[in-house]
Symmetry: C2
Subunit: 385 residues, 2 copies
């Protein structure tokens, strides 16, 4: 397969965008990414989205976004893997360009969660779970993750407050990201006093409901070099699945799909977890961040929380995560988050992350999750010029 680079990035702030439609949100990100890349007309568009059918009464987003972005006629598709849909769009665009189906593709993630009520959004998010074996029993998506967190605390002996550093780090990093939704730093006391959502998960363990869109332009490495764009290479790209129903896994506390997809992506890039300078992980809940760190090999089992408690996930630590706020504080417009992660990793690798910049970073990992560990897509991005 061919060498592939990201040559353009675009994003809207994550917010409650009451004045912009789902489609227009996507158009803003796509146009920004094309402008950044200096490309007028890509050959393909992949749109990652989860909730538009339920909340915006709109499907067919591939053709719709392509047309409204001034790209009528190009090949376009929507891809869905629940909350990991944006990363799936990036993976499709990667495969199309690397495989030779086209030279330039755009991956866009978009979500307009405020098109429904919070109750409607909560019901729609539960569709990421197994409808017949989980949701039918009344389990919301938060509840499923609360069961995981409960078990984790039981198995490894942590207290709820030990998860604080994930949230505190995310809010700290979001405070200086103009595209972030929750820009106030929080204290340990605020975390401890945060109100319960589904015990033991509290408000400050959870990402919020928001609207947003992000996009990347993906091209052959050869074209990137010819255009003279800053080259961030997609060095590794992989996806893997697990059962959707959490109770059906041999080891519920081990995200095997995160393990498989990260190992594949690292192997493709020819590096190991120890070589990664920073990671944009799927911190939709603090327990999710902990389990991801462990499954990717950044911490031994049961030690993801310890890594955070030791300060290693901050921008000054050994493995900075959520460097621009993560899902927790940049915001989690679900189908868009996987693309936000890639956009932010490119910001870091290009040296365009402003006051959030990690000095001298060269290798970043992004990982997005659909369902409670059911579908996990990992990318390794590398700065080479």
């Amino acid at each position: 397969m061919r060498d592939v680079a990201i040559i353009g990035i675009g994003q809207t702030p994550v917010s409650e965008h009451w004045d912009i439609s789902l489609c227009d949100l996507a158009v803003q990100a796509v146009k920004a990414a094309l402008l950044d890349a200096g490309i007028e007309r890509p050959e393909m568009l992949f749109v990652g989205n989860m909730l538009s059918a339920a909340l915006s009464r709109q499907q067919n987003l591939g053709a719709l976004v392509a047309d409204h972005a001034g790209l009528r006629g190009i090949e376009a598709y929507k891809v869905e893997t629940a909350c990991g849909s944006g990363a799936a769009a990036v993976r499709m665009a990667y495969m199309a360009v690397a495989g030779g189906a086209c030279d330039v593709a755009v991956a866009c993630g978009v979500e307009k969660m405020t098109d429904g009520t919070p109750e409607e959004a909560t019901a729609a998010l539960a569709e990421a779970a197994d409808a017949l074996y989980e949701a039918t029993h009344g389990l919301s998506f938060v509840a499923i993750n609360a069961l995981l967190m409960q078990r984790y605390m039981f198995e490894y002996g942590y207290r709820h407050e030990d998860f604080g550093p994930f949230s505190i780090n995310a809010h700290e990093n979001a405070s200086t990201n103009p595209n972030a939704m929750f820009r106030r730093p929080i204290t340990r006391e605020q975390f401890v006093r945060s109100r319960p959502i589904a015990d033991p998960i509290t408000l400050l363990d959870s990402s919020g409901i928001g609207d947003g869109s992000a996009a990347v332009v993906i091209a052959t490495g050869e074209l990137a070099t010819r255009l003279g764009r800053p080259v961030v290479r997609i060095a590794g790209s992989a996806g893997a699945t697990d059962s959707v129903a959490v109770h059906d896994r041999r080891e519920p506390l081990f995200f095997s799909a995160a393990h498989t997809s990260s190992q594949r992506a690292l192997a493709q890039a020819g590096v190991t977890a120890a070589d990664i300078d920073f990671a944009e992980l799927h911190d939709a809940f603090s327990i999710t961040a902990a389990l991801s760190l462990e499954a990717c090999g950044f911490a031994p089992r049961g030690k993801g929380v310890a890594l955070a408690l030791g300060g290693e996930i901050s921008r000054q630590g050994r493995l900075p995560i959520s460097t621009l706020g993560g899902l927790k504080a940049r915001g989690h417009p679900v189908g868009a988050s996987g693309v936000y992660q890639v956009v932010e990793a490119v910001q870091q690798l290009r040296g365009q992350a402003g006051s959030n910049q990690l000095p001298g970073c060269r290798l970043g990992m992004t990982q997005s999750i659909g369902g409670s560990g059911a579908n996990i897509i990992t990318h390794i991005l590398e700065r080479i010029s």
Copy 2:
């Protein structure tokens, strides 16, 4: 890109499957296709589906279907282009294998339309249209196509009864297909007396609501040869889009996306429309079949209906279409139909179409449409052994 073949096909009958879940329907088709191919574990799965979020409260179908089909762990995605979603899944699987991302992929289309009431299904189908510029005015999906048919009759001087041959041919062919939903032949009189749905579209101009799933196993040509499977090659594969809102097109009666995608697919295959032995087109409404024939170059503009009136679309004609019943009479479980078309084309090319067999066919075209001409995917299939 590499040579790609279809080495396995599977399908469930199209019906009202009250006793089977959405997921189990997909599993039946996937397992049948893998058995037919002699493959135990493909590397990737692409699921085409439109309505599960609205009607079955279930997303994340990639991971869900993979797991329930005994393929836990493999890479899996859902793809959506409204009623063309199944064809999009085939296109993704083609790109993955042709581009070298994997050697064996499964494309599955599934739809469980009876999980909702007919009213809910009608509302969900309208999400294929532009929510803000079409559906918001109360236009159902049938109504949009009725406007197209009205305009077509006005421009070209046809009467409603002239469209009869599309429906009569489809029902005739379905009558001997055990997987078809509507297996009774209809007469010209029945067509003329059929009750109106959205004037001028009548019940017998329209495909019905049904459940079903179809799947194909796609592999490298080299692997197909090594396995000794009957080789049906994907000689051409292409997608193209148009505006979603029909009023926004310069020529509403010309499906430009059908033109572009069919021309690209034919060019890739190195053939012309005149070389095609049969076509499985998107006859969701009889007007759609007429417009597709014209846009693909099988008939001049305004002559698609004339082609049908002349008997050329029957199994004895110059260009047989809907050879196993088409969307009209095999049934149109929307996100599955694009895969049913490919499965049926392979049946024809392998000589496995039973009493519907076209003697000596070598080149078939399948074309699936998402929205009223908005997203159109074309495949050219060729028998080479």
